[in-house]
Amino acid sequence: MVSIEIDGKKIQARDGALVIEAADDAGVYIPRFCYHKKLSIAANCRMCLIEVEKAAKPLPACATPVTDGMVIFTKSPKAIDAQKGVMEFLLINHPLDCPICDQGGECELQDIAMGYGSDVSKFTEKKRVVKDKNLGPLIATDMTRCIHCTRCVRFGAEVAGVRELGATGRGEHTEIGTYITSNVSSEMSGNVIDLCPVGALTSKPFRFSARAWELVERDTIAPHDCIGSNLKVHVCNGREVVRVVPRENEAINETWISDRDRFSYEALYSDDRLKTPMLKENGAWREVDWETALQAVIVGINKTITDSGADRVGALAAPTSTLEELYLMQKLMRQMGVNNIDHRLRQLDFSDQQQAPVFPWLGQPINNLENNNAVLLIGSNVRKDQPIAAHRLRKAGVRGSKIMTLNAVDYDFYMPIMAKIITSPMDYKHQLAGIAKALLAQTKQPAPNGFEKLVSKVKITASHQAIASALVEGSVSSVLLGPQAINHPEASTLRMLAQLITLLSQSQLGYLSEAGNSVGAWMAGMLPHRVAGGKDADKTGLNALEMLHKGLRAYVLLGVEPEIESAESVIASRALNDADFVVSLTSFSSEAMRQYADVMLPIAPFAETSATFINAEGQWQSVAGVVPPLGETRPAWKVLRVLGNLFGCSGFDYITSDDVLTEVKQLTKDCQTDNTVVWCCPAPITTNSNADILVRIAEVQMYAGDSLQRRAQALQNTHDADFAAIRINKACAKKFGLKDGVKATAAQNGTEITLPVVVDDNVSDNSVLIHCGLRDSAALSTDFTPISIRPV
């Protein structure tokens, strides 16, 4: 620590801290434009000039480190003169169009300019005009307003990991943009909107919808990925969400959010939004009041139970539902004797669910990801699945940590990758066994029971050795299972081998789970075999896949569209359509849902209900609703409470959602947080048994993960919201006579679909990537199963 003096205040500052950091800590505001604590120092705007005793010239506070005994004046005549000078320069070419600027009222330039009084500029020359750039569906530009702070450019290089924006030209003619017409494609691109201190980069969906002073700001949590990024929602007239920005939380999302979390709010006002309860009678839908709708639910479910038994009823919930909703849903079902309860719609292998940890989680705090020296990612497109986690990993990678992957697609990770194995999903277990075998040899530890036989045929490759060594050498290292591993048809084997690798290399096993409340759903007991708190259920019901395969008589759906969200979309669709009674608690209706459902109850989505989410690190985050539910919509926890009462169940007398939360907390307070399970030897692994079988890689398309994202228009217009296609590498395409851009037919389990072919050499051999979550690919039956392709 060093002692310094700022504006007469004596303070202690961290050694090596910059003057601006020390001042911020001391609550002294120094104006700045280019400085941002999460970006490298550019020191180019010169706004933060301050006077330092004994220094001949004014110094930039953002680039000057404190020294012991330093005496700093931020508001002395010299400092103010320097700052005013810079301000004057900035304004000579800045349009004075604040009244029509989206940034008006929240513009750093405007704020600081006001602070210096409104000097009439002596500048009488023409102002610079800069042509606008089209950066795509998310970001609106007005480049004449740009003050060249280069925050957005540095963000791309340093945080997003892709240099898309640049400063081309020289001097006064420098322009920020992409130079050629091209959309920015980073999944984190929206952060430049917050970074831009003026109105040059603003939110396109938000454009002109409100003025800053008409907005109130409220806190919430992003429901989509397992990070649980903290958000601030901007609400207009107390009713409408018009914008979402990050809420700083150093431990979780720092100052960033993904585009997914920023723009999904648009779905709240999509045409699909269900605003009143609906009832289908004789094949025709009509709007009804809540009482009628709820009555229909009671009658429908009771009739099914009476006629066919409670085990012919199933409940499916989206893992993006709130903790309260998930808990009440399973509580209601269980009290009615229904044990067919699940949220794992994309899972294919349930064989080890009895041994599963209480909740599969990241195994470490999110911010610890950046402290790892070695990380092995399995079946994970982390950059698109959980952009914030990827950012943490990237920080580690850029620092020199060894990031390694085992994937079916050679994803463009924007970080140095030390080793990668790109192979068919059917080969994963073979590769993991190889790594485990290499580890056994390297560490000379005893093999667990049955392992020798398991891997006797497996050959150790150089990659296995390299990955094994990196994990052993890393003092902090992790093996992380992504959605494509968790939902893999041999997930239990992969899990067991991954765990063995972590035990041998003293690494952490972690799950990069799918959704905002995957952990919460496990905790709440939204499972066929466990009740809240991870305790075994009295009777184990059917899992999600069985429920759909068996064709139950009635289904209760919570925020879920199984016809595209299930691992077996065709079967899901058939099961729902064949059922006698389907009730959907949903914020949106769709053509498909109107087909299979009998009652649709409009429930409040994200932002319209109080909610608790438990993210991948096990952090509980509770928020209140930020806007009132639209139309007749009601928060689902209230709907479930009323249903509980109407069904005559006990213990549904909650007054607030907090009461529900308190109950869940009570039930889960003793939960163990260990991901490791008892060793149970998988079946022997033969070499490359599936070498010649073509398999479908089932990656959920970036913006198709849940019902909100799928209806957020701007996100759907981005590059990442790719169309459904048959993606295959050059060699395979040749083998099957396929041509880029020409349509082909994919067939699987008696289902067929015709889609355009995209030749993509990042796809591994013997694999086809057909994204799921899309209506256009839902006619194809199953994730990760053999598939055949032929030209049309």
Binding site: A43, N44, A56, G85, V86, I147, G171, E172
Partner: protein, 421 residues
């Protein structure tokens, strides 16, 4: 007493050839150093004795600069030569590259040895096709003769030297912009500290010197620091190349001892042309303050004397203006230059240089207003000292000095909408 250092072989036939250079004693120092394993400290101390100051413009003592290199830190270090030569009025490095490239090569090799750099780059401006070819040929000769490369003369010392070229940007003469440019980026000056000695080319410790500075080194070590010092004056050692341009009868590069009276230099250059009167002199290149004839005629050409006269020796680029010169127009051209060449990262420089240029231009074409004169000073004052690199100061300085000495001419333009000369 001229042409004793960088230009000492200039009169010889094919002065740029290795054979000529060697016949005149070239590379003897390099060989001696390799053979004796002369300690770097001895070399630095010799340079300190010589009082050699950087010839690139800032005049920083070269021995001191070399001593800043962290010689004991492991890893790659670099020596970089600044042959960007972009300062209006300056054209001496071009002649060193064309006529005495081996002195530069030897100087860079010695510098590399001294600071512990096994790789050197000579950054030449993109338009220097002919000098580049000469330098490349010289490099080839040197490699062939075993003067450069690995394990030179079996000494165990490695030194590789490469040319690099720019593509038209004055700012790349600024040393950190040059490094950025050499790394394959835009030439944006870096904020200092860290200085290149700790974070330079590709993030490694780097020393950057001007062409003339480096080319002087072999001569200093051959003849001794004291010899060099005594060529010039205390704290102003050696002789120096002066590029005398503008209104003189014999424009050219003249190597004369530091301390030579300006009047003498002017005479060497044939005096003011066409029998005209001397009006003004810019003594060190466009960024240095202009001096009226009266002051100039009384000063000597060395760092300290010119500073005392109110300007700077800079790169030794003496621009002579006769009585017919319109100072408004001249400043206008300089102001436009800085506007054209600002890299654009600092607000005051990016926005202010254009403003200055436009206002001077307005005054020149008779559209100036009374308040414009003070406005110029005000804007220049808001640029100077407030930017990352020296270009901001360089742009402000001419404005201030032109207005300081020739305000009446500017006033005349405003009042009469035309030029007084």
């Amino acid at each position: 007493m001229a042409n004793e250092v960088c230009f000492s072989t200039l009169h010889l036939d094919k002065s740029w050839a290795l054979s000529t250079y060697q016949a005149a004693g070239g590379y003897a120092v390099w060989k001696r150093i390799l053979k004796n394993k002369t300690s770097p400290d001895d070399i630095i101390s010799e340079l300190k004795t010589s009082a050699l100051r950087g010839r690139g413009g800032a005049g920083f003592p070269t021995g001191l600069k070399w001593s800043f290199m962290p010689r004991n830190t492991p890893g790659q270090k670099y020596i970089v030569c600044n042959s960007d030569e972009g300062e209006p009025g300056t054209c001496k490095d071009r002649d060193i590259l064309r006529y005495n490239p081996h002195a530069l090569i030897e100087g860079m090799a010695i510098a590399g040895y001294t600071i512990g750099a096994s790789i050197g780059y000579n950054y030449m401006r993109g338009e220097f096709y002919e000098p580049y070819d000469r330098f490349e040929t010289a490099l080839e000769e040197a490699y062939k003769a075993g003067i450069l490369g690995k394990n030179i003369f079996k000494s165990g010392v490695d030194f590789d030297l490469h040319s690099h070229i720019g593509a038209g940007a004055y700012i790349c003469g600024e040393e950190t912009a040059l490094l950025e440019s050499l790394e394959g980026k835009k030439g944006l000056p870096r904020f200092k500290p860290p200085f290149p000695a700790s974070y330079g080319l590709f993030g490694r410790p780097t020393t950057i010197n001007n062409t003339e500075t480096l080319a002087s080194v072999p001569y200093i070590l051959a003849n001794g620091g004291k010899w060099f010092l005594e060529l010039g004056r205390p704290n102003n050692g050696g002789s120096k190349l002066f590029s005398v341009s503008g209104h003189v009868n014999k424009p050219g590069n003249y190597e004369v001892p530091l301390g030579t009276p300006f009047a003498e230099l002017l005479e060497m250059a044939g005096g003011v042309w066409k029998g005209k009167e001397l009006k003004a002199v810019i003594p060190g290149g466009s960024s240095t303050p202009v001096l009226p004839a009266k002051i100039a005629m009384e000063m000597d050409m060395d760092y300290d004397s010119i500073a005392k006269a109110g300007s700077m020796l800079g790169a030794g680029s003496v621009i002579i203006m006769d009585e017919t010169t319109c100072m408004v127009k001249t400043l206008g051209r300089l102001a436009y230059f800085y506007y054209d060449e600002s890299c654009g990262q600092c607000t005051p420089c990016r926005e202010g240089t254009g403003w200055l240029s436009r206002v001077v231009n307005r005054i020149e074409i008779g559209k100036g207003q009374q308040q414009d004169l003070d406005l110029l000073l005000d804007v220049a004052g808001k640029i100077g000292g407030r930017t990352i690199c020296g270009l901001g100061d360089a742009a402000a300085m001419p404005v201030m000095s032109f207005l300081n000495h020739y305000r009446d001419e500017f006033q005349f333009h405003v009042d009469h909408k035309r030029c007084m000369v």
